[in-house]
């Protein structure tokens, strides 16, 4: 993975010093609440219900074992022994003390980590495919481009005070695992007829209050124009994005109100001034590619036979393999999911003890690298098949091997009312209740691929509108209610879920979900996934059953 140069290190060290001064000035009363707010957000600090929340960047999801140990240390020293992985491949601490945040950031800087631009109205952490570099369906590795974009977006002097937050995602595979069509800018690596890698550029996608699917603004952008084109889009957005209404300030609204055609003209006119002056050189790209060269794979890894034996002899292992692993481009290797969705843990939460142990496992069996996924799990991307059994046993002992990846209990869930001051309703408790209702693994496996996403308010941090089942917390006269949607998807067939009907009360939400699953099981065709069934059947059969008694 990318290793900092001296310049990178200096930059984050200087950022820490700057934020330390800002925090001191705030406590001295020299910065107002409002002024400090803008500055602290750009350093990952939110103030929420109980305490500040610190969001640390996981650049396109990659974290080293050393960094994971540092996260464990911070959880232990400054927090309540755990942290939380978000849907944007970032890491959150829920209980740090504000005055200690500069100190925490200084600790993070010692392992090349930071919290720069993880919140606020600026360019956020670039996200990508959690299987980048190992996926079997990869066209080109997105990580070098992600790093180029990470550097370009970091402390960009012109674009740090945008109308609203701005998110860029990059996918290099045939199957989009980075929800690129729901980002302000989504980039797909594609090849032209000559076989050269370039970008298909989507613009104006987004979730939140007004979910919109991104539109193609450039079917093929040459690699060398990447940064000049991004600059053109950002300048048009910075100048013309709405600043009068925070709910209409995202670029998706600008694109919608301007119209794609007109918006494209504006961008192209701006770009015409920039494209020749600011080319990204092939040497620079190659330099970055070298940082992401494949590790030293054992080319005889697939000759191991113990793996097949374990699979036959240990049913639990076989079940875990079937659900918690993904194919790897190198024969004899497998990508292993670490499930952060054990039934008794809030989705995405992980303890200091688990983190330390995961770092050890990564060092021993996966080249010391860990990845964060968009569904709040972790991945060990390069495990040899001969090691799978051991890795599974170790993970199981840590309660990190619940075989539920991609299934109903692999829910994504925001912190909701338990932590977030914006929440209308709880989400962690509901997730737990649904988990308890679905405690039969065979049933879960029979239902198969299912994405349940639950957010505590319209901001939609858990992407409920693209969940196959989306659950949205709403406030009804001070009580917690839940709006259900069906049929959303953030993959290639991007779709926004359709509302099932009126919101349901808190004591009925779990029943509603199990009813929906029952309808699916009764009506599905052979091999038909939940999403396919919803698309074929429409929402009526589900609606009838869920509201049958009302």
């Amino acid at each position: 993975m990318y290793q900092y140069t001296e310049n990178d290190q200096t930059l984050i060290d200087e950022r820490v010093a700057q934020f330390k001064r800002q925090t001191e000035n705030y406590f001295k009363g020299e910065l107002s609440e409002d002024e400090y707010r803008a500055l602290r957000l750009r350093n990952g600090v939110y103030i929420q219900t109980h305490a500040p929340l610190l969001r640390v960047a996981g650049p396109y999801g990659l974290i080293s074992s050393k960094q994971v140990r540092k996260l464990a240390h911070i959880a232990r020293t400054y927090d309540k022994n755990y942290c939380h992985f978000t849907t944007r491949q970032n890491i959150q601490f829920n209980w740090p003390k504000l005055e200690l945040v500069p100190e925490i950031l200084a600790e993070l800087a010692t392992v090349q980590m930071h919290a720069i631009q993880t919140s606020g109205n600026c360019m956020r952490n670039t996200t990508s495919d959690h299987l980048a570099g190992v996926a079997v369906d990869e066209i080109a590795d997105p990580r070098p481009y992600c790093e180029i974009i990470r550097q370009w977006t970091t402390l960009h002097p012109e674009f740090d005070y945008l109308p609203r937050k701005f998110k860029i995602a990059v996918s290099g595979a045939l199957n989009d695992r980075a929800a690129t069509q729901f980002h302000d800018i989504g980039l797909h690596l594609v090849k032209n007829d000559a076989g050269e890698v370039g970008f298909k550029v989507f613009v104006g996608g987004g979730l939140g209050r007004t979910p919109i699917i991104g539109q193609v603004i450039k079917p093929y952008l040459e690699q060398k124009h990447l940064l000049s084109y991004l600059e053109a889009i950002l300048r048009i957005y910075n100048l013309f994005g709405r600043r009068d209404n925070k709910y209409k300030a995202r670029i998706k609204i600008l694109v919608k109100e301007t119209g794609l055609e007109e918006f494209t003209k504006l961008v192209d006119a701006e770009w015409a001034h920039l494209r020749d002056a600011n080319e990204l050189s092939a040497e620079r790209v190659d330099e970055l590619k070298a940082h992401f060269a494949s590790p030293a794979y054992d080319l005889a890894a697939d000759t191991d036979t113990s793996f097949a034996e374990h699979k036959v002899n240990d049913k639990a292992f076989a079940t875990w393999l079937a659900h918690n692993t993904a194919a790897h481009k190198v024969s004899g290797y497998t990508a292993v999911f670490i499930s952060l969705k054990a039934p008794d843990m809030p989705p995405g939460d992980v303890t200091d003890v688990q983190l330390d142990a995961v770092a050890d496992i990564a060092d021993a069996y996966s080249f010391g690298e860990i990845r964060a996924t968009h569904r709040q799990n972790l991945i060990l991307a390069d495990v040899k098949q001969a090691d799978l059994y051991t890795v599974w046993q170790k993970l199981a002992a840590l309660e990190l091997a619940t075989p539920n990846i991609g299934t109903a209990t692999d829910m994504i869930c925001c912190p909701g009312l338990d932590f977030c001051s914006l929440a209308n309703a709880g989400s962690i408790g509901v997730a737990k209740e649904i988990n308890e209702a679905l405690d039969d693994l065979d049933y879960i496996h029979d239902i198969g691929e299912l994405k349940i996403n639950m957010s505590g308010c319209m901001n939609g941090c858990a992407h409920q509108s693209v969940g196959h089942i989306g659950i949205l917390g709403v406030d009804k006269k001070g009580a917690e209610w839940y709006q259900i949607t069906l049929g959303g998807s953030s993959e290639n067939n991007a779709a926004i879920g359709e509302r099932l009907g009126p919101a349901v009360a808190k004591d009925e939400i779990t029943k509603a979900i199990t009813t929906i699953l029952d309808v699916y099981v009764k009506n599905r065709l052979e091999e038909e996934t939940f999403l396919e069934a919803v698309n074929r059947l429409g929402i009526n059969p589900f609606k009838e059953q869920v509201y049958a008694n009302n």
Binding site: L155, P157, L239
Partner: protein
């Protein structure tokens, strides 16, 4: 009143003339509206003329006239309105403007490093002690990822 210009404290020699006030001799700044309306008078003015831009003003509206404009003030009504940053960038990067660009109004001394990188070279502050903060914060970073405008 003192300001920071090119990393030095200097006396401010300019005054802003409100749209409904009569012009006075000496170096003055006016709004873009006034410039567009009274251009002929202003070009003939006895003294230098500059513009005071709102974040919503378009640089393209006066870009052809930059030879006549000896100061551009970027007037921040709200420090979070980032359009002024693009205005500065366009003035320097697109239109090759060489004279003074000054940040005024409600920007934060915490923002001056970024401002300097998009081409702002002078800073007026609402509170005098902030001049020191400006000088200090111009050195917040010794490294950067993107190319700067100057």
């Amino acid at each position: 009143m003192q300001i920071i210009k090119d990393k030095q404290r200097v006396d401010n020699t300019w005054q802003f003339i409100a749209d409904d006030a009569a012009l006075v001799a000496g170096d003055i700044t006016v709004s873009l509206d006034r410039w567009l309306q009274d251009r002929a008078d202003l070009v003939a003015h006895n003294g230098k003329v500059g513009l005071r831009l709102k974040a919503s003003d378009s640089v393209a509206d006066f870009a052809e006239d930059l030879a006549n404009i000896k100061l551009v003030e970027l007037d921040f009504a709200d420090f979070a309105d980032g359009r002024s940053f693009s205005q500065a960038w366009l003035l320097r990067g697109r239109y090759d403007y060489k004279d003074e660009i000054r940040a005024i109004g409600r920007y934060l001394p915490e923002q001056v490093f970024y401002l300097s990188r998009v081409g702002v070279n002078a800073y007026a502050t609402e509170k005098t002690p902030d001049l020191d903060a400006v000088l200090n914060n111009l050195n917040d970073f010794t490294v950067k990822y993107q190319s700067s405008i100057i």
